[in-house]
């Protein structure tokens, strides 16, 4: 390689400009090697950190940080490599599966409502949190520090590192419950959010995911899709498992206030709709203001609280003064990972100006506060929430589910179904039109809900609790049980939900091995079919249909040969159904490619591989990325396609298809042009800050090689032709610099063909 100065006429004379080129070339290698772990480890942090932070920093700082990051890589990569192999529940997982799995598992975490007295919210506002107390605790709920031990229905206990809870305000939940119309444009919001990200150039290609891995953008897409949910009758993941009732030390008449708040959660304006179980856990919190109030008084009050309300109490000691970055023990409040698209968009808008100033976007709190909050959330979850859920599961399992599971239960439900004995008496009052169709009569077909104490509702809730506590075996069997009830009642949304979750729970269960006789692909196929059809056609809820399909795809695609085929089929189906917008389209196309790429052949023969298909989908994705204007990602996809093609038996043959080859060539050229332009802009000044500083070079170094070679030849020629040739050299070089990339010279084209 010629020296970058000499080789590239685009470069400005400053010395600075030659730094990134060299530097990037160095880090590029290590970034490739390291990619599996960086992406796996950095996911939660990356998605949670304000996205535009890194990408908007100036060229220089970008270069510096990148080069410095390459230092400590060796030890890290070793440690993480070991971890990746061990964790996987399956025999032969593909890279990135653990990641996606953990994302899915964490998305379905218990919901805890927060209902705080005014004084507590005021305290939080004083600390610089606009949305009150909930904003303060929410980030800490996403990952409970330490292990959380969960006892499953058989009495075996398992501990989880990544357990979490989702905090939300009770107001929001009750609002969601009453108005369901807001649900409709979730997908649009999601698309809008993704557009913003893509337009902003967020997405560090520095840690380019390798083949078959999940790209950061897709993870973002999936996680946003998973959390764009509000409370709905057909599933209880968003129904509160517990509620924090909080007062502060400055509250007058504390015990009465607590009682009052409790009353409001039970039957006042804050009561849940009839389909949600009102018997959730109440957890009483006394927030002690360290800066203003006397601790001995609070302590006495807390003792009193404990006497009144029992064990589920906590004394939280916080400072009320606001904290600035310069303070000694300041700590940045982590940003939430599970923000819904709407919230994220508003956060992005609010912080847009701040990011330009290169300041931090989230407020600071004292580290003592952070520690107190962590302890609080841990205690709340590990001792109260999980315990409460375990108790409920045991209770319902005993009282509702086992009665259904036994022989007599089957007989009962049969007789109910065929003779209508059980149904007729109740059905006559609620829904007369269902009599005789075998419906149990608990279903209110007008509202589309079951009352919370109907057995169907309780069973669903049991299954959801088991799912959230990651007891997938119990969850799957319960979903299966309740599924037929929903089908009889023609409760379509419930039916779809039960099918969806049954499929997901079975697939998430690490003990269902792909080889066993129970593992039937057709079953999953059928469940996905029913769920997506019911969601889409009968309930016209595309967001949920998309969620079903994508989750199914992600979990199926690692389950062996036949399953990956089915996964690809469903991914394609989701495209066909038009569930995704243009950006979703690209992301899902990439997933299709990876489904095909992951398919394992038999032995070493390569029999049953789908490399060509994977390549086609990669090319399509590249094309779409170009349309979205992200040439650097398109370049990656093209490289990937190239790799796939070269792995087939007759890799050269593709060039014999004339139109196809011409199209590929064109696309490649377009990508290169775009990258070249971006590169030029990147050098032309520090104003052009964005994505393209390092990343583009990443891609271009290789691609430019051919061009540079040629250019240096031109340079040499012009040098040889002495003073008289100066005019000519100007002529040859000058038009080349801007136009060169739009009109590739024959030489470079020869160099750049399929390897």
């Amino acid at each position: 390689m010629t020296s970058p100065r000499n080789g590239d006429p685009l470069q400005q004379p400053e010395d600075l400009s030659s730094i990134p080129n060299l530097d990037v070339y160095k880090t590029r290698l290590s970034a490739r090697d390291e990619s599996p772990e960086t992406s796996s480890a950095s996911l939660p942090i990356r998605t949670s950190s304000p996205p535009t932070q890194g990408s908007r920093s100036s060229t220089l700082s970008g270069v510096l940080s990148r080069s410095s990051s390459s230092n400590g890589k060796l030890s890290l990569s070793l440690a993480r490599f070991g971890g990746l192999q061990v964790n996987s529940p399956l025999g032969n997982p593909s890279d990135g599966y653990d990641d996606t799995r953990s994302l899915i598992v964490r998305a379905f975490s218990p919901t805890v409502a927060v209902y705080a007295a005014q004084e507590v919210d005021e305290l939080a506002v004083r600390k610089g949190l606009k949305h009150g107390f909930v904003e303060l605790v929410r980030p800490f709920g996403e990952k409970i520090p330490g292990k959380v031990v969960v006892r499953d229905s058989t009495g075996a206990s398992r501990s989880w590192d990544d357990f979490g809870v989702h905090f939300t305000t009770l107001d929001q939940l009750t609002e969601d419950g009453s108005s369901s119309a807001a649900e409709v444009n979730h997908l649009e919001k999601l698309e809008e959010l993704m557009e913003q990200y893509i337009g902003d150039g967020y997405y560090d290609t520095a840690d380019t995911p390798g083949r078959g891995e999940v790209s950061e953008l897709y993870k973002l897409f999936l996680s946003r899709l998973l959390c764009s949910r509000s409370m709905s009758p057909h599933e209880s993941f968003r129904h509160p498992v517990g509620a924090i009732i909080a007062i502060s030390s400055s509250t007058k008449q504390p015990i009465d206030t607590l009682r009052n708040l409790y009353q409001q959660t039970a039957q006042g304006p804050r009561a849940l709709p009839t389909y949600a179980n009102p018997e959730y856990l109440r957890y009483y919190v006394l927030v002690h203001d360290e800066d203003h109030d006397d601790f001995s008084k609070s302590s006495a009050l807390f003792d009193q609280m404990k006497r009144h309300f029992g064990l589920h109490c906590h004394l939280l000691r916080l400072r009320s003064a606001s904290c600035t970055q310069s303070d000694d023990d300041a700590e940045e409040l982590p940003t939430g990972e599970w923000l819904s698209p709407e919230e994220q968009i508003s956060v992005l808008k609010e912080t847009a100006n701040l990011i330009d100033l290169n300041t931090s976007t989230s407020p600071f709190i004292f580290s003592s506060d952070a520690a107190a909050l962590r302890t609080f959330v841990r205690e709340l979850t590990a001792q109260s929430i999980v315990y409460h859920m375990e108790q409920r599961i045991a209770l319902w399992n005993d009282q509702v589910a086992s009665r259904r599971r036994g022989i007599s239960g089957r007989f009962m439900s049969l007789s109910k179904r065929w003779t209508g004995i059980g149904a007729s008496s109740r059905a006559s009052s609620s829904s007369a039109n269902l009599v005789g169709s075998g419906a149990s009569g608990n279903y209110d077909s007008l509202q589309g809900t079951y009352r919370w104490d109907a057995p169907e509702s309780l069973l669903r809730k049991l299954a959801d609790y088991a799912f959230m506590l990651r007891d997938y075996k119990l969850a799957a069997s319960t979903y299966e049980l309740v599924r037929s009830d929903y089908a009889n009642d023609k409760a379509w949304k419930h039916l779809a939900g039960a099918n969806e979750m049954c499929c997901i729970a079975t697939l998430l269960n690490p003990l269902t091995s792909s080889g066993s006789s129970k593992f039937k692909i057709e079953n999953f196929d059928l469940m996905l079919e029913t769920a997506s059809y019911s969601y889409l056609t009968r309930c016209s809820d595309p967001a949920l249909a998309l969620r079903t399909l994508l989750l199914g795809v992600e979990l199926l695609k690692v389950r062996g040969r036949a399953a990956s085929e089915v996964a690809a089929k469903w991914a394609i189906r989701s495209l066909e159904l038009g569930l995704v917008g243009s950006i979703g389209n690209v992301l899902v196309s990439e997933r299709v490619a990876s489904c095909f790429a992951n398919r394992i052949g038999i032995g070493n023969t390569g029999w049953g591989l789908r490399k060509r298909k994977a390549a086609v989908w990669s090319v399509m994705a590249a094309d779409e990325w170009m349309k979205l204007g992200r040439a650097e990602i398109a370049a990656q996809r093209l490289d990937e396609a190239q790799e796939f093609y070269s792995e087939t038996n007759h890799s050269e043959a593709i060039k014999q298809f004339k139109e196809l080859a011409a199209y590929l060539e064109q696309l490649r050229l377009a990508v290169r042009m775009k990258l070249g332009e971006a590169r030029k802009r990147g050098f032309s000044g520090a104003t052009r800050q964005l994505e393209l500083d390092g990343e583009v070079e990443d891609e271009t170094v290789e691609e430019m090689n051919a061009l540079e070679k040629h250019d240096s030849r031109v340079n040499r020629l012009s040098l040889m032709g002495d003073a008289s040739g100066a005019a000519i050299s100007l002529e040859t070089v000058a038009p080349l610099s801007p136009v060169r990339l739009t009109r590739p010279d024959p030489l470079s084209r020869e160099d750049d063909d399929f390897e």
Partner: protein
């Protein structure tokens, strides 16, 4: 229905390509792919990708005629394959015309839903394609016997092309 027919050598290179439209039910034999201009390369992509499936399926069936082996949902294309003795593969991509259900309703009186131009997976269509493949196979064998043809090279004979077009018109 629009068709893209290609003969693929054992080394995966195309030996003969032809695009044509249906001549049944008043069709004029002109291909109208629903993806328009992009169809030219997309068809090649799709057929090339289908080779993956051919390589798998060819060991599972004793027949040379493999029926519909693959489809590409975004353009609603189906791919049928016929194997010859030397692992030369005849691939036919067929794509039903983009008639929406509304207009299909008005035409349903004249065209039954199983007719060849409408339904790419009906037994009738399958049979027609089989006949077409058989005829092309015969033409192909005769071409191989031609002393001026080198095996493994693209077929340039205009007579062969004309006859394949004829077979297409006759059956599809």
């Amino acid at each position: 229905m629009s068709y893209y027919f290609v003969i693929i050598s054992p080394a995966d290179t195309p030996l003969f390509e032809l695009t044509f439209g249906t001549s049944k039910a008043g069709g004029d034999g002109v291909p109208r792919f629903r993806n328009g201009e992009t169809a030219r390369y997309m068809n090649q992509f799709i057929v090339h990708a289908a080779l993956d499936v051919v390589e798998e399926v060819q060991w599972l069936s004793p027949n040379m005629w493999l029926k519909v082996i693959d489809n590409y949902a975004p353009t609603n294309s189906h791919i049928s394959c016929f194997l010859t003795g030397t692992n030369v593969r005849f691939m036919l991509l067929h794509q039903p015309s983009a008639i929406t259900t509304a207009s299909a309703g008005s035409r349903s009186s004249t065209i039954s839903s199983t007719s060849i131009p409408q339904n790419p997976t009906s037994p009738q269509t399958e049979e027609a394609i089989r006949q077409f493949m058989n005829e092309v196979f015969e033409l192909w064998v005769k071409t191989l016997m031609n002393p001026f043809y080198t095996i493994g090279k693209p077929i340039k004979s205009p007579v062969f092309r004309q006859r394949v077009v004829g077979a297409g018109r006759k059956w599809l």
